[in-house]
């Protein structure tokens, strides 16, 4: 009984909707008839030019908006595809790493190789200091450098040894200072060893070998070592560099 009543309600509702649709249909026709009757009144109507201009601008803007939106949707669709591809790749890779020995070895070797390369990059970055860093306060550095040479790198974070490299094309000057009551050994085998003076009275050792010249001396409880492989850098150049030392404050 209840089921029949529900069907009855549905039928009545459907009948009512159709009736209202028919009323709508008739209203539309009545409306158009009225408009046709008054069509002569429209003839004197002057349409503002600004309306056409507005429509042109508005519609162009809407088309641009739609184009942008379409592009965004296309990009999102591509991104989804890319995400699915990456997910599949990771899944297959995971499966192969778990199940195939040869693949697992090759995979981890590749990872290690990449890590080493990154480590190497980090190292180069740290050693390529182009200015005397702040943590050099209390350490000496040469204020004079022969023409054409530029500071290449500053090495050393500990209190024991600090090194500065200056370069000119493929030539190099190395300045080192050692603290903490150090003693250093200079390779003078087969070379000329000469005792010289710097700052007028300071004793220093000059060593000249076929491929480099160096000066080493002590000052302020430290040992300094200056060396160059450039044949244009003479003993006097090295003395001048040594005498130009300044302490960083």
């Amino acid at each position: 009984m209840n089921e029949l009543s529900n069907m009855d309600k549905e039928y009545k509702s459907s009948l009512e909707d159709n009736f209202l649709r028919h009323i709508g249909f008739e209203h539309v026709h009545n409306l158009c008839r009225e408009l046709d009757m008054n069509i002569n009144g429209q003839e004197g109507t002057i349409l503002p030019e600004s309306l056409d201009l507005w429509f042109d601008a508005y519609y162009r803007q809407e088309l641009r908006k739609k184009k942008r939106n379409d592009n965004r949707i296309r990009v999102m669709r591509q991104l989804k595809k890319a995400a699915i591809f990456i997910l599949l790749l990771v899944g297959v890779n995971y499966f192969l790493v778990i199940s195939v020995d040869a693949y697992r070895v090759r995979f981890f070797n590749t990872i290690m190789n990449i890590q080493e390369r990154f480590t190497q990059i980090d190292y180069v970055k740290d050693s390529n200091q182009t200015t005397i860093p702040d943590n050099w306060d209390g350490y000496y550095y040469p204020s004079y450098i022969p023409e054409g040479y530029q500071l290449d790198s500053v090495i050393g974070d500990t209190r024991l040894v600090r090194v500065i490299h200056y370069v000119k094309e493929d030539q190099k000057i190395i300045f080192q200072q050692f603290t903490g009551q150090p003693s250093i050994q200079v390779d003078s085998e087969g070379g000329i060893v000469e005792r010289i003076e710097i700052f007028g009275d300071q004793k220093a050792v000059f060593v000249e070998k076929e491929n480099y010249r160096s000066i080493s001396w002590t000052f302020d409880d430290r040992v300094f070592f200056l060396q160059s492989s450039d044949i244009d850098i003479t003993k006097n150049h090295l003395i001048k560099i040594a005498e130009s030392l300044e302490i960083k404050k």
């Binding site: 009736f19 009323i23 709508g24 209203h27 539309v28 026709h29 009144g41 349409l47 309306l51 519609y59």
Partner: protein, 183 residues
């Protein structure tokens, strides 16, 4: 290939909007001007109407047909009345036609349903309030949702719902009083 088809679709849609504007701009402007008696306001209403129509462009099939023409007229007419009321500071229509809206079932089984009377019933309803006939047309003939109608005519969904109930109540009153001779 797909992008080519999409381009064709875009061109079709563009042509549709431009065709609508070119075909009906003058008539719609005239209707709005007849209500507002102001070029500036009528222009404003037409702009607003086309912005709304563009959002519901899928509701429009053929350009040059009575259904499309009446649809545009209903939108422009209602927006113009809305603007008119706004300017005259008339509160939005809280219809108080003495109509009961508790039961808006038309009880068609109590009346002999003659489809030929549809035209007269629509006329009678339009005479009581053209908004009633408009809103029933949008809902049942154009098959628009309450939200779509609200968006098109600047009404809240609740307000659309109330108006449809009022329209049905008015129609019921016309039917119960014997039809077209009653207002």
């Amino acid at each position: 290939m797909l992008s080519f088809i999409l381009t064709i679709e875009d061109v079709k849609k563009r042509d549709k909007m431009e065709d609508l504007y070119i075909t009906y701009r003058k008539e719609l402007f005239y209707i709005s001007y007849q209500i507002l008696h102001s070029y500036h306001d009528a222009e404003d209403v037409i702009q607003n109407a086309f912005i709304k129509i563009y959002k519901h462009l899928d509701k429009i099939g053929e350009i040059k047909c009575k259904k499309t023409r009446a649809y545009l007229v209903i939108v422009v007419r209602n927006l113009s009345f809305d603007r008119y009321n706004e300017k005259k500071r008339i509160m939005p229509t809280e219809f108080t036609d003495g109509l009961e809206i508790d039961d808006t079932s038309l009880s068609l089984d109590e009346h002999v349903l003659n489809l030929e009377r549809g035209k007269e019933l629509a006329e009678a309803l339009s005479k009581i309030n053209s908004g009633y006939a408009d809103i029933l047309s949008l809902r049942y003939y154009y098959e628009m949702s309450l939200t779509e109608i609200g968006d098109l005519l600047n009404l809240s969904t609740d307000n659309v719902c109330v108006k449809i109930h009022r329209a049905k109540a008015a129609l019921k009153k016309i039917l119960s009083e014997g039809g077209v001779t009653n207002e």
